[in-house]
């Protein structure tokens, strides 16, 4: 069968957005009108959204990952993008939330000088995030992580004459740059012993598919040529998981988040808290399930010594403990904040803890159906947290911009003068807390069920306890809106912008719509995604198929 090259849209979104981002400084030489830059950013946001929708539809229609080799190089050479269901779902989430954030930004940047640089960085951030989720190459993941990271540092330091913002940015940037360098060392370890950088190729080695022979000249590819695979895999996993937990702000590595997220402009806080931390969680899940997954021979079947759990189980236990600690600590720290945005930042630490707890149940010996349920809950919770947290950062951002203070006490009674922002803040808080008419309830309930099914009831109890502890923080937010105390500004002096109201209402409807569509999305999206994530055989065989096709068509096969 002749090889049919896949349509170029799979590789397009990241490159297109990077080109768009770097074209902005050129446009500033000719165009001074702010409306032009608003339209420009929205146009590329729509474009990225359209591409993500079409990728997600194609992946779910074909029920298999789609491989896109860059530049037509046959797979073991060159860079490949491999979009599976997990990548497609998270990519769709990123581009849709980023689109709303860009729309909101057109209002937020109205009286901001330097909005053209703001849009450059925002488009760069979106490009990096989409690159991370669509790529199938761990070195390309490093490059895209750096794109995300540099854009994020720049956006945190956007108010460059505000000492706190610069301080938060340098704190984030110094440790972040160290972290990405360490991830580079991890990729070198993997390359040294696996002799490939493709995720599917690494998974192929781990699952012991050595019997697959390569067509044409590539028979020399399988086989280890440098060092011990088990040791270098363990070192690489330890290094890269530290980096991902830093990016995702899981407990001991969360120190930068409560400073960096509040100091950024409001839409940027929404993007950082809602999406950038998910990139870390996404990469951890990709490493622990697709590449070094359940049943991978090297890490699971060769325990180090008798009585010691296999290395992969130990990594999972570490992730689970870190997740549990960050869920509890985030919830407790939320309750003692006076700054609205710091409160929301600690809420991110809390929810990322839930996500890592769900990820960590996939150890050998646990029932597969229960692990699939936990991963479905993880994906669902990632979506709910993204929607809820970006909603909250944007609604409180509008209040903060009008009142001019981030202090909870100074914002009390704001609901009377800003009804839409107030109502959506309450909806967002209830969604993250997990109250029934909103989807956050269902994902927490699913987490609870999954922990019981997998035989770890203490984690299920922990979900309830951490949610109960976080009630204090969310209650502060709700009180801030519905309090009967006089409003901080004169009634009638604030006119809510229709753009902001539109964005907030869309996000609020999304929380209810996800609740209503739950039976459908659970069966057709999340469970399917989780099953493909647990069992990477399709991921590997699709990759192998494309590789065989391309080599045989090269040799006139």
């Amino acid at each position: 069968m002749a090889f049919v090259p896949p349509s170029p849209i799979y590789g397009l979104s990241a490159i297109l957005l990077i080109v768009a981002a770097f074209a902005v400084p050129i446009f500033t030489l000719f165009v001074k009108n702010k409306r032009f830059y608003d339209a420009y950013a929205i146009a590329f946001g729509v474009f990225a959204l359209a591409i993500s929708i079409s990728i997600a539809r194609k992946v779910f229609a074909s029920n298999a990952p789609i491989i896109y080799p860059f530049g037509g190089w046959p797979p073991p050479l060159g860079i490949v993008y491999e979009v599976d269901m997990f990548g497609a779902v998270i990519g769709l989430l990123i581009s849709s939330v980023m689109f709303l954030i860009i729309v909101y930004s057109t209002w937020y940047t109205e009286r901001l000088s330097g909005y053209e640089w703001y849009y450059t960085l925002l488009l760069g951030l979106e490009a990096g995030m989409l690159g991370v989720v669509y790529t199938g190459d761990i070195f390309n993941l490093f490059v895209m992580l750096e794109v995300v990271a540099i854009s994020a540092y720049g956006l945190v330091a956007f108010y460059r004459n505000r000492p706190q913002a610069v301080e938060a940015a340098i704190k984030y940037a110094i440790v972040g740059a160290t972290a990405t360098t360490i991830y580079f060392i991890a990729t070198i370890f993997i390359y040294g012993s696996y002799n490939t950088l493709h995720m599917a190729g690494i998974a192929m080695r781990n699952y012991g598919y050595f019997h697959l022979t390569f067509p044409g000249m590539l028979n020399y590819l399988p086989g280890v040529f440098y060092g011990n695979m088990l040791i270098s895999a363990c070192i690489a996993l330890a290094l890269s998981l530290w980096v991902f937990t830093f990016k995702a702000a899981v407990f001991p590595n969360h120190f930068w988040l409560p400073d960096a997220h509040p100091e950024a402009p409001a839409p940027v806080s929404a993007a950082l808290s809602g999406l950038v931390v998910k990139v870390g969680a996404y990469a951890s899940a990709r490493f622990m399930y697709t590449m070094f997954g359940l049943g991978s021979t090297e890490l699971l079947n060769h325990g180090i010594a008798h009585g010691v759990p296999p290395p992969r189980t130990m990594f999972m236990i570490a992730l689970g403990v870190m997740g549990a600690l960050s869920a509890v600590i985030g919830a407790i720290m939320m309750g003692i904040q006076r700054d609205v945005k710091r409160l929301l930042a600690y809420s991110t630490v809390n929810h990322i803890g839930f996500i890592y707890m769900a990820m960590a149940v996939g150890v050998q010996g646990a029932p597969r159906a229960a692990i699939a349920l936990a991963l479905a809950a993880m994906v669902f919770h990632m979506i709910n947290h993204s929607v809820g947290k970006s909603l909250l950062f944007m609604s409180t951002g509008a209040m903060i911009k009008h009142v001019g203070s981030r202090d909870l006490d100074k914002l009390v009674g704001i609901g009377k003068v800003m009804p839409v922002a107030g109502a959506t803040t309450v909806i967002g808080a209830l969604n993250l807390l997990g109250v029934p008419p909103f989807a956050g309830f269902l994902s927490k309930y699913l987490l609870y069920q999954a922990f019981l099914a997998v035989g770890m009831p203490y984690l299920a109890v922990l979900v309830v306890v951490a949610s109960a502890l976080s009630l204090l923080g969310y209650a502060k937010l709700i009180y801030m809106v519905v309090s009967s105390k006089p409003a901080p500004v004169a009634p009638g002096s604030i006119k809510e912008s229709p753009v902001v109201c539109g964005v907030l209402i869309v996000l609020a409807i999304a929380t209810v719509a996800l609740f209503a569509a739950y039976p459908f999305v659970l069966k057709h999206v999340f469970v399917v995604t989780a099953q493909h994530l647990i069992d990477p055989r399709i991921y590997i065989s699709k990759y192998y198929e494309v590789m065989a096709w391309m080599w045989s068509s090269l040799y006139g096969g």
Binding site: F139, F142, V143, E146, A149, I150, Y153, G154, A157, R160, N161, P163, Q164, V166, E167, A168, A169, I170, K171, A173, I174, V175, A177, T178, T180, T181, F184, I185, T187, I188, Y191, G192, L197, F225, Y226, F255, P258, D259
Partner: protein
């Protein structure tokens, strides 16, 4: 060159790389001056790059490896010789990318440090503390 000498030199490079990495991490995490942190960060990046180049190195039996560029007419026997004697070019490409990225990150950090100096009048992180952490 005999194998013993070669493996001795190889281990020296490897050990110095590990020591360099440890020193660089100490510098990034423990030194108070932002400028010294940035210098330590570049040392960390360079150690990582050295490591990558080292992973790409290989010793064909008895002879020195050749650079990963095919300089002769590409006949099948030339290509066979090249494949068995050239060092791995991929880590070199990775290092090239990592150097470019490192340049961008370092420039950004230097700019932020200048901005810190303008705002606080110091680059000592112990005195730069308006945030609660």
């Amino acid at each position: 060159m005999s194998t013993e000498v070669l493996s001795f030199l190889f281990s020296i490079v490897f050990m110095s790389m590990i020591v360099n990495t440890a020193l660089a991490l100490y510098g990034v995490l423990a030194r108070p001056s932002l400028v010294k942190k940035i210098i330590a960060l570049t040392i960390l990046g360079d150690s990582a790059n050295t490591f990558a180049i080292m992973v790409g190195f290989r010793q064909p039996s008895g002879t020195n490896p050749i650079p990963p560029v095919l300089l002769w007419k590409p006949t099948p026997s030339n290509i066979r010789y090249f494949i068995s004697h050239a060092v791995d070019p991929l880590p070199q490409a990775l290092v090239l990318t990592a150097i470019v990225i490192g340049l961008a990150v370092t420039l950004f950090l230097v700019f932020l440090t200048i901005q810190i100096y303008r705002q606080y009048g110091t680059t000592d992180v112990r005195k730069v503390a308006k945030l609660r952490g």
